[in-house]
Amino acid sequence: MILKVADFFIGTFSGALIAKVVSYISPPFMPMLTGGLIGMALALSLKIALMPVFGAFEVMIPVSITGMIVGMSSGMLSNIVASNIVITSGALTGFIVATTIHFSNKNLTTK
């Protein structure tokens, strides 16, 4: 049960953190691509930090997907809207990714 709650926390936390870093850097050149690359690099560090506690695949899959999506979207948004909105949208995206994977897992493991 605790680990299931942790899955949603991992998604939301990694989304918010990646959005915060990307919005702070606010890439001026090719923001979508640069944001995506920063997001993927951050996701890699997060995976190494979280995998020993929460499990390799349960961290690897959501954090990788969140890193790519949030990095790209935050790169684009960081030059347009306030950083609070970027961070909130990053956290929300991370939560949606975690929820999607949760139901995908439920579907695949009950077959």
Partner: protein, 200 residues
Amino acid sequence: MSKQSYDGVAKVFDYFAVGDMRRWGPSQRFLFKNLKGRILYIGIGTGQEIVNFPPGLNIIAADLSIEMLKRSDKRVKNYSGKIHRCQMDAETTAFADNTFDTVVTVCTLCTVNQAVSCLQEIKRVLKRDGELLMFEHVLSKNPVYALVLKMMSIITKYLQGTHLDRNTVANIEKAGFKIHSHKNVYLDIVKALRAHYSAE
């Protein structure tokens, strides 16, 4: 990956696998609950799965790395059955044909150099009416998950010698086994599989 490299991985192996053991314990206990006869455990590593074995079994465990085997000391001693460990390559074991009733692998087929030749070796040492139990991770059929696994595999191959992009289910059948029980443990990536000798 060489034996020396696995010896190096042994130092951090337990640290990185703590989360996995927490997640996979119940599924492993369910897979192993009917273990019987002469058992060969390929790729014991540091012996993290020993706690999930039923008590009182007589197991022969093999691993390529002496450092991994050394780190399994405490878990082997705490087990309420017999575990005899030996250092050997999973692709060329020293056992005679048709020796074991059950062969167990846990995240082994992702790490050996040639998965199919390892499975053929398992088939050789397994009795005709024996059973192969596998707790393995495989490449997902979902293209998004598969992309993540392929990208991560570039790093894990180099750091740990672990291939995340192997189609283990197809390899099992290629080696001449028939899968009779197939359960997804996490998405369609981590699987608990039971196979036996295929007559075909």
